[in-house]
């Protein structure tokens, strides 16, 4: 695997804008499954405007960590969210792009229906209101996918589907955007474009991004911070630093660039 040189600028020379005020804090997060620890002592701060990449081997607890953040599974420890006004809303808006999304090829469901099912009060089978269509268009425009609004979801390519799901996750604009290996099924150039887009969006909307991925080369360029997870946080810091750590190199067989 080719990695960029250690001194490569992390953001193509553009410093990320950070309000520096809002922050999501995970404190002492632990998850046990059948008496066995799946996650232990996770302390993590997610700052708005910052892209935090979580890497680790299969079974290291990456998806479990996301589930804790989404509040889907019981865990010890605490998740706190502090917004720019130093309030603690009980439920920050979390945008989520899941792993392995695929839809039935023949499903009579349009991209607009997907938005309507998520946003609308009126049942989608009775049609979609102008307001919901506008909201969907706005979300899709953020990811350059507005042309896809009337396409059936089963006919989208991997890259198109990711832009649609990212657009959905950005509607409404979230406080935290969480992506779980969003790039499976997307070709190389599609991946580059997707990370560029993500990088641009988090600066424009100033939300925190938590990204689980195996794309080390791309993460080295686009992530602000990298967390190497193996049941607990083994090391974290700027990507260039984390990727130099011997434990990380060992796990990802990065000897070739040593």
């Amino acid at each position: 695997m080719q990695l960029p040189p250690d001194n490569a600028p992390a953001h193509h020379g553009v410093a990320p804008h950070r309000c520096g005020e809002c922050c999501t804090t995970l404190k002492g997060i632990g998850v046990r499954h059948n008496g066995k620890a799946v996650l232990e002592d996770i302390d993590l701060h997610l700052h708005c405007g910052e892209l935090t990449a979580v890497v680790g081997e299969n079974g290291a607890g990456k998806t479990t960590l996301i589930k804790c953040l989404l509040g889907e599974i019981p865990h010890s420890g605490e998740v706190h969210f502090l917004d720019a006004a130093h309030r603690r809303p009980d439920s920050p808006v979390i945008g989520y792009v899941p792993q392995h999304s695929s839809f039935d090829k023949d499903a009579p469901v349009s991209v607009l229906d997907l938005f309507a099912a998520s946003l609308a009060e009126r049942p989608a089978c009775l049609g979609v209101s102008r307001a919901v269509r506008d909201a969907a268009l706005e979300g899709l425009r953020r990811t350059g996918a507005e042309d896809l609004i009337d396409r059936r979801v089963g006919t989208l390519s991997g890259g198109e589907l990711q832009r649609v799901l990212l657009g959905l996750a950005l509607t409404p604009v979230p406080n935290i955007l969480v992506l779980d290996e969003p790039m499976s099924g997307v070709d190389h150039s599609g991946r580059e474009q997707f990370y560029e887009l993500l990088s641009h969006l988090r600066r424009e909307y100033d939300f925190a991004v938590l990204l689980v991925s195996h794309d080390l080369a791309a993460l080295a360029r686009f992530a602000d911070r990298m967390v190497f997870l193996d049941r607990r946080i083994v090391c974290e810091g700027p990507p260039a630093e984390v990727l130099r750590d011997p434990r990380v190199r060992e796990a990802f067989s990065l000897h070739s660039v040593a």
């Binding site: 997907l114 099912a117 089978c125 059936r152």
Partner: protein, 282 residues
């Protein structure tokens, strides 16, 4: 008394210049078809999208045990014991699925084999099973004004709940992960839908017949799937095919002296084949 509610309907339909419109039982049956077919069609859209066809088939077949329980309990109308048992079965199958010990088609297959056998064993004691064969093929023409009134109330309640739960069900079908992340938990909606389905299938059984009711649930939605590009079209086409096949099947069965339920199914099948041709052409 309840018959007087239908007087305007009878007056309007008998003004039609057709032989069948001269018969009161046909006019009532037409009203029943107009109530039941959109209901089965609408529920069928979710059944097809969620691959629940085997489940709905099992619910229909469980009516054997429902009827048998009614006989054992000495009920004059077995409908209540049929509904009660169908709901019990729905809970059992849902529990099996959630627990995940068995794949759901195996679980449903086991439960169906058990309920059908149990029902037949109880009903066939003393060689009396022939009394119940009308449930197998249904008798649309025996419907009374009271039955139609019950169907109308049922239809209103089911449609209201169906529309209320629809978006949650759709999102959960598309992506359970996104549904959970948006706190649109679908567990309650899915259970509610399964219960609605059980009640509607059971209530429509005496008129449509145990053997063919599932086809009426599945075929219109399967045909519409070949034509529709979005959810609203899917729904509209399904209801249209369902109602058209229902009306045509009722009238054909009148002139051909055939069982109404099965005739409707054959016509719906015809619509399905037409949509297949249309789809192949596009």
């Amino acid at each position: 008394m309840i018959e007087s509610v239908f007087a305007p309907w009878h007056a309007a339909v008998s003004a039609l210049p057709f032989e069948w419109a001269r018969y009161g039982f046909m006019r009532l049956a037409l009203l029943a078809v107009l109530l039941v077919s959109p209901l089965l069609g609408a529920l069928g859209t979710v059944v097809v999208a969620n691959r629940m066809a085997f489940f709905s088939e099992a619910i229909g077949h469980a009516a054997f045990t429902g009827i048998a329980l009614g006989v054992l309990l000495g009920l004059t109308d077995p409908l209540w014991s049929m509904i009660g048992f169908a709901l019990l079965l729905t809970l059992a199958v849902t529990w099996f699925r959630r627990r995940g010990g068995l794949s759901s088609d195996t679980a449903i297959g086991l439960v169906m084999a058990f309920t059908v056998s149990l029902g037949i064993v109880i009903l066939s004691r003393g060689g009396d099973f022939a009394r119940y064969t009308n449930f197998l093929i249904g008798d649309m023409l025996a419907i009374t004004g009271r039955d139609v009134a019950v169907l109308a109330v049922l239809g209103l309640v089911v449609f209201a709940l169906f529309f209320f739960f629809f978006n949650r069900l759709l999102l959960a079908t598309l992506s359970p992960a996104i549904a959970r992340s948006r706190a649109k938990r679908a567990g309650a909606a899915e259970l509610a839908f399964a219960c609605l389905l059980a009640v509607v299938v059971t209530c429509a059984l005496p008129w449509i017949g145990i053997l063919v009711i599932n086809a009426l649930l599945i075929l219109p939605a399967a045909a519409a799937r070949n034509l529709a590009r979005n959810t609203a079209q899917f729904f509209a086409w399904t209801v249209a095919v369902s109602v058209l096949a229902g009306i045509a099947g009722l009238i054909v069965s009148f002139y051909a002296s055939t069982a109404t339920g099965a005739t409707i199914v054959l016509i719906a099948m015809g619509f399905y084949l037409l949509t297949l041709v249309r789809r192949a052409a596009s």
